[in-house]
């Protein structure tokens, strides 16, 4: 293992400390937790938004804490859900009296821990609603989930639900719009190399020099097929077609596209993929309203990409365009 770290057991704490040092004007650390909250939270009269999960997916989720997106992010150990007491602290830190909305990726551990925190918060008199994101079309059940996995599409849920909350939306309205995003967002990824969990010290899996894995999860969970690597155009075509088979996007529909790097893939390659994706969508008569290219939901140092498509209506367009001051997402 070759990593720029001090102590494998301290990576999350060290990262969180460094993050706070980078954005002291935007975020604060809730004492004795790994919860990063917006400096001004709780905001009276605004619904609080909380997300989080295992670490190793940076800039998710702390990078999305800021005006127009999340009010708090809870960092678990690498690829491990945060515990309910941590999530509860986040909920309490951002409740401005209008309730708190949780955005959860669909992994068994995340769902159990966040739901338990939600019940505890409700027992303390805080109203809580949630959405479970399951945008990955690759596999139905996996070693980490029952049902589909939540991946990069989660960032668009943060953005749109965040904009709704910022504009004064009620807990119920935020839930409605978040459900709408989840119903209309689909993703799929692929990898060239594995990631290495610091505490494990060795790669989670191995791919041969000329091999790639289609449909891989953001923790290195198995995808659907291992095969010899093909060109960027062929990879873009395969992933885009799989997504289009799963969700009906008709001629004339407006969509948002996200080309996401998994950690070790250069932006150059992301743009090469993007060109092909845009071409396919254009050929299908689909109108691309917004495109996001970059690292949004990574898997440590995995080389690979994911493609996300979100079908938009007028409400989602407006919310997607609304301002965000989160360090990792500028509108």
């Amino acid at each position: 293992m070759k990593k720029i770290i001090n102590d494998p057991d301290q990576v999350v704490q060290d990262m969180v400390n460094g993050y706070i040092a980078a954005y002291p004007e935007k975020v604060r650390l809730i004492p004795n937790t790994l919860v990063l909250a917006r400096k001004e939270a709780p905001i009276k009269g605004k619904v609080g938004l909380v997300s989080g999960g295992g670490s190793g997916h940076e800039p998710a989720h702390a990078g999305y804490v800021g005006k127009g997106m999340l009010d708090a992010a809870v960092a678990g150990e690498v690829f491990t859900s945060p515990t309910p007491d941590q999530v509860l602290e986040a909920i309490k830190a951002v409740d401005g009296g209008e309730g708190v909305f949780l955005i959860i990726k669909n992994y068994t551990g995340d769902v159990l821990n966040f739901e338990m925190a939600a019940e505890m918060a409700e027992a303390e008199g805080i109203q809580v609603e949630k959405v479970i994101v399951n945008d990955d079309v690759a596999v139905e059940d996996s070693s980490f989930t029952t049902g589909r996995r939540g991946i990069a599409g989660t960032v668009l849920v943060h953005k749109i639900a965040g904009a709704k909350a910022e504009s004064g939306g009620s807990l119920k309205e935020i839930k409605q719009v978040a459900d709408k995003v989840v119903a209309n967002v689909r993703s799929m990824g692929m990898a060239l190399t594995s990631c290495t969990v610091p505490a494990a010290g060795k790669p989670s899996f191995t791919l041969k020099e000329d091999e790639m894995e289609i449909g891989i999860g953001i923790h290195g969970e198995p995808g659907i097929e291992r095969k010899p690597i093909t060109s960027a155009d062929e990879i873009a075509t395969e992933l885009t077609n799989r997504i289009l088979e799963d969700i009906e996007i008709s001629k004339g529909n407006n969509i948002a596209v996200m080309i996401n790097g998994l950690g070790a893939t250069p932006e150059m390659e992301l743009y090469i993929v993007n060109e092909k994706v845009q071409g396919i969508l254009h050929d299908n008569g689909i109108h691309v309203y917004r495109t996001f290219v970059g690292e949004y939901m990574t898997s440590l140092e995995m080389a690979g990409i994911s493609i996300t498509l979100l079908k938009l209506d007028d409400e989602l367009k407006t919310l997607l365009d609304a301002g965000s001051e989160a360090p990792a997402f500028r509108s």
Partner: protein
């Protein structure tokens, strides 16, 4: 048989000993179906529970159980943390205010624990999860006037035998469907240790 503060503490400490002793075995069970950390997580969590219990003085059984639940919740992690925390939290709530817990009260507590567990894990009997150990034990206490230690042991080990032959449809093991038959669910085995420990405390108490 009745459960007081000192017996409750003894129960949990015995359970911890069994989990520590079988840490590697539990991890081996978890490797093919999960991420192989069940034994490590449970051992770390229950050790923290025992440390906590040694630090405090308790007046009521429910206070002991509450600390067990809260420590498991913050120290075990993964999917097991909230599941084991839930059963102890439900027991805590059901037994609140009682100095001495009789069998009938304990039966009510176990029933609450099982329904909480089913709700948390969105699971029911027959799905190869820890529910399949907790539920038969709750039934045993519910339907028998005098439960003795050997019936607790018998019920727990019968339950575990049945779990082995089930096909997983919930949790991570469901990914392996048919392949899961013949394999033991690590959460069910940890639950077995908890009841094996209970049986030993029960034996010591009823004489």
């Amino acid at each position: 048989m009745e459960l007081d503060v000192s017996r409750t503490i003894k129960w949990i400490k015995l359970a911890n000993e069994k989990i520590q002793m079988n840490k590697d075995y539990l991890t081996t069970l978890d490797q093919p179906i999960g991420d192989g950390d069940h034994g490590i997580n449970m051992a770390r969590g229950f050790q923290a529970v025992v440390t906590k219990l040694d630090e405090e003085d308790y007046q009521e059984v429910s206070d002991v159980l509450k600390d067990v639940a809260m420590t498991i919740m913050s120290k075990v992690g993964g999917a097991s943390g909230p599941l084991f925390a839930t059963v102890f939290l439900k027991l805590t709530n059901a037994l609140k205010g009682e100095q001495i817990i009789n069998q009938k009260q304990f039966a009510i507590g176990l029933n609450e624990a099982v329904s909480g567990l089913k709700q948390r894990g969105k699971a029911t009997e027959g799905e190869k999860t820890m529910v399949d150990v907790w539920s038969p034990i709750a039934d045993l206490f519910q339907t028998n006037e005098e439960v003795d230690h050997s019936s607790i042991l018998q019920t727990a080990s019968n339950a575990l035998e049945k779990v082995k032959d089930m096909m997983a449809t919930k949790g991570r093991a469901s990914y392996f469907k048919e392949k899961s038959i013949g394999h033991l669910d690590p959460g069910a085995v940890s639950s077995y240790y908890i009841f094996e420990a209970l049986a030993e405390v029960w034996k010591g108490a009823s004489k």
